[in-house]
Amino acid sequence: MTESTQYINKLLDNLFRHESGKLVAVLTRIFGPANIALAEDVVQDAMMEAVTNWTYSGIPDNPTGWLYMVAKNKAINLVNREQFKNNNSSELLHFLQSQWTATPLLDNLFTEKEIQDDQLRMIFTCCHPSISADSQVALTLKTLCGFSIAEIARAFITNTENINKRLVRARETIRVNKISFEIPGGKELELRIDTVAEIIYLLFNEGYSASSGKDLIRYELCEEAIGLAELIIGHPAIQNKSTVLALLALMQLNTSRFRARQDADGNILTLEHQDRSLWNLTLMESGFSNLEKSLAKNQVSVYHLLAAISAYHCAAKNYKSTDWISILSLYDNLIQLDKSPLVLLNRAIALSKVSGADKAIEELDKIKETVPLISYYLFYSTQASLYMELRQFKNAAPLLRKAIELAPLDAEKMLLENKLSDCLKK
């Protein structure tokens, strides 16, 4: 590969990430949501054409404009094919089939405001409640974030075939259920925005919670989730932004600590051992400010509480000065809304800081039955840590062994192994 093709590929990579979601959204508006795959193909085609053309003729002055022009031309050619004309009809298509109106229409559709509208329409279409959650996430990443199937597979630690199936299912659901490409209004908007928030948070957690060594793609997932939330907040159609603002704050505050969570050898570092000077203060500031804005409506959601908890961690100069009393009271509120094992486990940690490890162990014993298998390793490792705090190393060691056996990721196993060897030295 020559230097210039390398440069073109890099530029294109960047451009693709940035523009493909916009282009797919606008083209989906034109072709109709039943033809999302077609929109994706046209964008892919335009990108391929850019590679070929720019390699020979050099990079144009305005690469984005060039790309838009190619996409527009391809769209016109496509909707004027007999086959397409016979199966589709809409006012937009009617305009695209007339020499007088095609170009003015496309120019109108490719303005910044219209693109933003279409991206929001796309979010609501991808996160339609009739599509299953894992398909919603895959489709959102593919269409809005410009992720390739391989990238999505890597992010979800699964194979491309699996992701492809989810995408096919999602597109079929849209087609069969005739899901419309629009921003819902009134009461429906309130309901649907909650689903969208859930999907964005799911997407974020895919990136944030696990650490599989493929850090780059995981950080990008977090960035994309943040980008989607910002897109929603920036749109005038969304009146009540409180929930999404809180979600955005939560994601920004957590992401601000992203780089400090692993040491150079890939070992996971818990809050206690993180170098706080590595925390991203700019992101943290945005998180604080969005959390404040989210409180204006006097509305409380899971995201508000989680963001507030994260904010207390961020605000602490060091681990020792963490305000555990406030954090515990937030967890007490949180379990009213969400009694999931992860929340209960985290609450137990806060409780141990406030009332002592023995109290926390008691609490954990109470919830043991309700913890689903997948979270067992966390349950055991949390209990082990509490026993270690009480210097009951004999009780801690077997729990750690169980946790190591069940931990899904190598980095987590390593963290637990280190704890176990500490434990055995005592």
């Binding site: 006012e91 009617h94 305009f95 020499q99 109106t101 170009t103 003015p104 109108n108």
Partner: protein
């Protein structure tokens, strides 16, 4: 809003006399005009007509399908628009860039719509 049909007539092919550059400028002007109508939600459709065809005249007994002549005024296209009233429709017609290109006329006609059946 009422629907109107704007039938555009020019003397021959008004684009033919223009240089390539003038043509491009003219097309751009029409594009802006149409784009604005769309943004205002006033355009239902607009299509140019090919400068070829036939003229069918007579009645069922005696048809004549003579050649279509470009020399006289010919319909070059139509705009199907929405306007509050005839005056507004006329104003929209007057703003059409076709008048910048030479002699032209636009026939502004309200479209008869379906009325309720009792």
């Amino acid at each position: 809003m009422k629907e109107f049909m704007l039938l555009v007539r020019t003397e021959g092919d008004h684009l033919a006399a223009m240089s390539a550059e003038e043509q491009q400028k003219h097309v751009q002007k029409i594009g802006n005009y149409i784009g604005k109508l769309m943004q205002e939600g006033k355009l239902k459709g607009a299509q140019p007509l090919d400068m070829a065809g036939k003229m069918v005249s007579g009645n069922k007994g005696v048809f004549k399908d003579g050649p279509f002549t470009e020399t006289k005024e010919v319909i070059v296209g139509y705009f199907h628009i929405l306007a509050n009233n005839l005056d507004e429709a006329v104003d929209i017609a007057k703003a059409n860039p076709v008048f910048d290109a030479g002699m032209a006329s636009i026939e502004v006609r309200p479209i008869k719509t379906m009325e309720g059946i009792n």
